[in-house]
């Protein structure tokens, strides 16, 4: 009796361990694969782009970063586009951000004082969002610009509305660095 019991058990286990599992590979729907900063020269209308692309997400192949040089002493209307190119059709994450604009804010950290920014848009509560900004270049220089998107920052904390990240808190959605030059 007991032997039969055991045999059945071992057999069942053997069978179940042989049948391969059907693994579902998830679509990384909320993933951001691509960050594009488009700088439009206020005076000439010429467009320059900073692009970060990591199509396979975290790990795997490293990201592709490309930067076009900016011109000295100009003002640029700047627009950020966030895409998920890992799914088909490509998903525009900007729409998600706009739908929850009071929970998001962009910050820009530049190592050079010759590249500065001001916010050019607002969320529903009248606080800055940062999908649209105005960048101003000074003299020719080079440095690094880090674009950061925070989810659920404390927008009322000191300095946050002015683009100071220190007191913002919140989780990070995007943080990409571009090594730029100003000609």
């Amino acid at each position: 009796m007991k032997k039969a019991h055991l045999t059945v058990m071992i057999f069942a286990l053997y069978i179940s361990s042989c049948k391969p599992k059907e693994v579902v590979v998830e679509n990384q729907q909320e993933f951001i694969t691509t960050v594009i900063m488009t700088f439009t020269d206020n005076s000439t209308g010429v467009e320059k782009q900073f692009t970060y692309k990591d199509l396979d997400g975290d790990g795997g192949e490293p990201a592709n970063v490309s930067v076009e040089p900016l011109m000295a002493n100009r003002t640029y209307q700047t627009q950020i586009t966030l895409l998920n190119e890992g799914v088909s059709p490509t998903e525009n994450i900007n729409e998600e951000i706009l739908a929850e604009d009071e929970e998001h804010q962009f910050f820009f950290l530049s190592t050079s004082s010759n590249l500065s920014f001001t916010y050019a848009d607002q969320d529903e509560d009248g606080n800055p969002l940062g999908l649209s900004t105005l960048f101003t270049t000074g003299a020719a220089d080079s440095g690094s610009l880090t674009a950061i998107l925070r989810h659920e920052p404390d927008k009322n904390a000191e300095g946050v509305a002015g683009g100071m990240i220190d007191n913002a808190g919140g989780a990070i959605d995007v943080e990409v660095a571009f090594d730029f030059t100003i000609q």
């Binding site: 361990s17 391969p20 998830e26």
Partner: protein, 772 residues
């Protein structure tokens, strides 16, 4: 004196059962006479205690094992028989006339799973460990199980906030520690520092911490030891139960639990349930936003005796929801450094809330167990058990939009466990046990998370065979055992690329456990035990295949498919001296682990769209842990006891010549307890104690091994009062505790939230239990 102490001990053990006395109606002239004998040898047991609960008194058997209790009335009596080295026996007698009894006590050593009562200091026993006192279990009904466990020496707590915690035994936890519930090794997601143990401590009545030598029964994962929790055998013919309600001021925690049990003829049942609801905890300065937790547990236990058969059905479920401190939900390395630099964490408020928001965890664990024991002869028995467990764990991250309510990790684990054990004992204190075990686990990522899983799907098949032998000769007890596990792991990792590909891999390991123990009664008042355990443990799934960002840990973890089994050798000793007033227990140990698997921080960073993350990869090196546990008790007077406990350990990576991370710092604890044997007014069994716990700073760590230096040491002062307001056949027990009396601000090295926030401040806990 000692006997009185024993009687007190037993009576306190029985508090959980009942007190039942009816009024004396007619004359009280009946007598219960009897003889106590050893079940195996038939030899009379002299010096055994027969305790009558209704009289709150007991008698001791004479040289022939005989006893007599006179002047008894026509009513029901609860008798408790106990003898050193024997399992206790309870008997309920409805007395209508005088009775003559022959009572056989089962030799204690006969059942390896039998309770070991700490105060049986003379007893020889092959396991290094500690049974937690029932009064302590009662006091901790509102706390996490880990906190209860950490009251024993050598055990500290690894935390991820107040609601998520697990014990560290002799420096090791997670995959090297087995939690056993009602004879079943718990099968949950036990790999991260942010996965608590899924057992509700409030329902248990037996909790034991084993430090080594337990691997035989519980498998190679009991490398550091095992936490054995169980519900005792249902003994009494009357309906008994308990109801406990309590409140903790910190976290404004409410909890409630009840239990009912009865044995009718050969059938017994027990039903239990509990609920806890804690909101945000507060430090001396601010509330810890999103640090609350709630859980619900319930269960049913049925037992039936049928001639030589004993059947048990046990089922329980625990459902829990834990918030993860909002300030700890940061992203990459820059964020972590910003968060660390802050004096006060992000989102610290002065407002209390019970809200549990993302990030949070929701886990449900269900156990269904069937046990059948067949007594082959007076000396041998065959036991088979089957257990089925379902574990479902969902972890919610701070995600955008509709994904806010979609778990980022959703794991479902099914586990089957089957065990067949043969136990035999013979005259001259010899014992033998052998058995087979089968473990089959199936872990699945439930689709719908919209993200790639941290851990791939896997199946594990692990048949095992074990054999153990124990013999006592005069003043020596030795035990030897061996175990072999065949470990077959099939995994389905997703190879990441532009196109993700699923691959099937197979890992086969042969794992052997050898364990030996020798204990000697070196003199009347001293005991020495030496244990040697050799264990090999196969690398676990997450050590092989983790791939991703762990919930709010700000690090990217990667497994290593090349990892081989860990080979561990632990040599430990236990030295006990006990006198009338004082007792001392010293446990030194050396634990050598070849191929010790751990997460090694890499020099490079992983660059993602969310910035740079520190990269950690599982690696293996040879390591050594050595330490000592000290436990000293001293009776200052009849009513005043003092105790001092000290744990110290040091872990080293031998190959890289640096300290091991996440090792507990030294800890020194004192307590002074006042427990008068007389009533104070109407209060009985009153115990008032003051504790002083000092945690030393963990100095033994290189500066580059952590983001910040370990926090400073701290001293906590706690006080507690326990008393019986009513103590007849029903009892009303009041427990009051004040933790962190001076409301000091501190951080703990073993709490992952140390980077972000302080530990909770003062808490006043009040709890009322009604036992009948």
């Amino acid at each position: 004196m000692l006997r009185l102490h024993l009687i007190l001990q037993y009576s306190s053990l029985l508090l959980l059962l009942c007190w039942s006395s009816f009024n004396c109606i007619a004359q009280c002239a009946f007598t219960i006479e009897g003889t106590l004998k050893d079940e195996v040898s038939g030899a009379p047991l002299s010096g055994a205690t027969v305790y009558v609960r209704e009289l709150s008194a007991g008698v001791v058997t004479d040289q022939q094992g005989k006893f007599a209790i006179e002047q008894l009335c026509a009513q029901t009596y609860h008798l408790n028989f106990s003898h050193l080295g024997c399992a206790e026996k309870q008997m309920t007698i409805e007395l209508k006339s005088s009775k003559l009894l022959s009572v056989f006590l089962h030799h204690h050593a006969a059942d390896l799973q039998e309770v070991i009562v700490e105060d049986h200091a003379h007893e020889l026993d092959a396991t290094v460990g500690e049974q937690i006192a029932p009064s302590l279990i009662l006091e901790h009904k509102g706390a996490q199980l880990s906190e209860l466990l950490s009251t024993t020496s050598g055990v500290q707590v690894l935390q991820n906030g107040k609601g998520i915690s697990k014990p560290i035994v002799h420096g090791l936890t997670n995959d090297r520690l087995v939690v056993v519930q009602q004879g079943v090794p718990l099968s949950t997601q036990s790999w991260g520092s942010d996965h608590g143990i899924e057992v509700d401590g409030s329902m248990l009545n037996q909790v034991k911490v084993l430090k080594g030598a337990s691997a035989l029964r519980y498998g190679p994962e009991a490398l550091a030891g095992a936490i054995v929790t169980a519900y005792s055998k249902i003994q009494d013919a009357h309906l008994h139960g308990s109801v406990t309600n309590g409140f903790h001021s910190n976290g404004r925690g409410l909890f409630s639990s009840f239990k009912l049990e009865q044995k009718r003829n050969a059938f017994a049942y027990r039903i239990f349930s509990g609920y806890k609801n804690f909101g945000d905890f507060n430090t001396p300065e601010y509330y810890l936003t999103n640090s609350g937790y709630r859980n619900f547990s319930g269960g049913l236990q049925l037992q039936k005796n049928l001639n030589r058969h004993f059947f048990e059905l046990y089922t329980s479920v625990l459902s829990s929801e834990n918030g993860v401190l909002k300030a700890s939900q940061i992203g990459n390395l820059t964020d972590l450094q910003l968060a660390i630099q802050r004096e006060e964490p992000y989102f610290a408020t002065q407002e209390f809330s019970r809200l549990i928001d993302p990030a949070h965890q929701a886990a449900t664990h269900s156990i269904f167990k069937f046990k059948h024991q067949y007594t082959l002869s007076d000396y041998s028995k065959l036991t088979q058990s089957y257990a089925f467990q379902i574990n479902n764990r969902k972890e919610f991250d701070n995600r955008r939009g509709a994904f806010r309510y979609v778990p980022a990790l959703d794991l479902r684990k099914w586990s089957h466990f089957y065990e067949l054990v043969y136990q035999k004992e013979s005259i001259h204190d010899r014992q033998f046990e052998t058995g087979l075990q089968f473990v089959f686990q199936d872990n699945t990522n439930v689709p719908g998370t919209a993200t790639l899983p941290l851990l791939p799907d896997f199946r594990l098949l692990r048949p095992a065979y074990f054999i153990g032998f124990k013999k006592q000769k005069d003043k020596l007890l030795f035990a030897l055992g061996g175990r072999y596990d065949f470990n077959l792991l099939n995994a389905w990792p997703i190879r990441r690329g532009i196109v993700n590909v699923v691959e099937q891999t197979t890992h086969i390991n042969h794992n052997v456990v050898l364990s030996g123990s020798l204990q000697a009664a070196t003199s009347k008042a001293t005991r020495l035990r030496v244990n040697l355990d050799v264990i090999s443990r196969a690398a676990k799934m997450h050590e092989l295949y983790s791939d991703g960002l762990h919930q709010g840990v700000a690090s990217y973890e990667q497994g290593n498919e090349q990892l081989d089994s860990e080979q561990s050798m632990k040599l430990s000793a236990e030295f006990k001296i006990f006198g009338h007033k004082a007792s001392l227990k010293v446990i030194p140990y050396v634990h050598l682990i070849n191929n010790f698997i751990y997460l090694q921080a890499q020099d490079s960073f992983l660059l993602t769209v969310r910035g740079a993350y520190p990269l950690f990869i599982y690696e293996s090196n040879d390591a050594i842990i050595r330490g000592v546990d000290l436990d000293f008790k001293y009776q200052l007077s009849n009513a005043i006891n003092a105790r001092m406990m000290f744990d110290y350990l040091k872990g080293d990576n031998l190959e890289l010549d640096m300290p091991l991370v996440q090792m507990p710092g030294a800890r020194l604890r004192y307590s002074l307890e006042y427990a008068p044997q007389k009533k104070i007014g109407f209060l009985q069994h009153t115990r008032l104690s003051l504790q002083c716990n000092h945690q030393f700073k963990q100095h033994y760590l290189n500066a580059d091994q952590d983001f910040i230096a370990p926090p400073e040491g701290y001293t906590l002062v706690n006080a507690k009062l326990s008393t019986h307001l009513i103590n007849t056949k029903q009892q009303l027990i009041l427990n009051v505790q004040v933790q962190n009396i001076f409301d000091i601000t501190y951080r703990s090295y073993l709490n992952r939230l140390r980077y972000f926030a302080d530990e909770p401040g003062r808490s006043v806990n009040v709890q009322l239990s009604y036992v009948f």
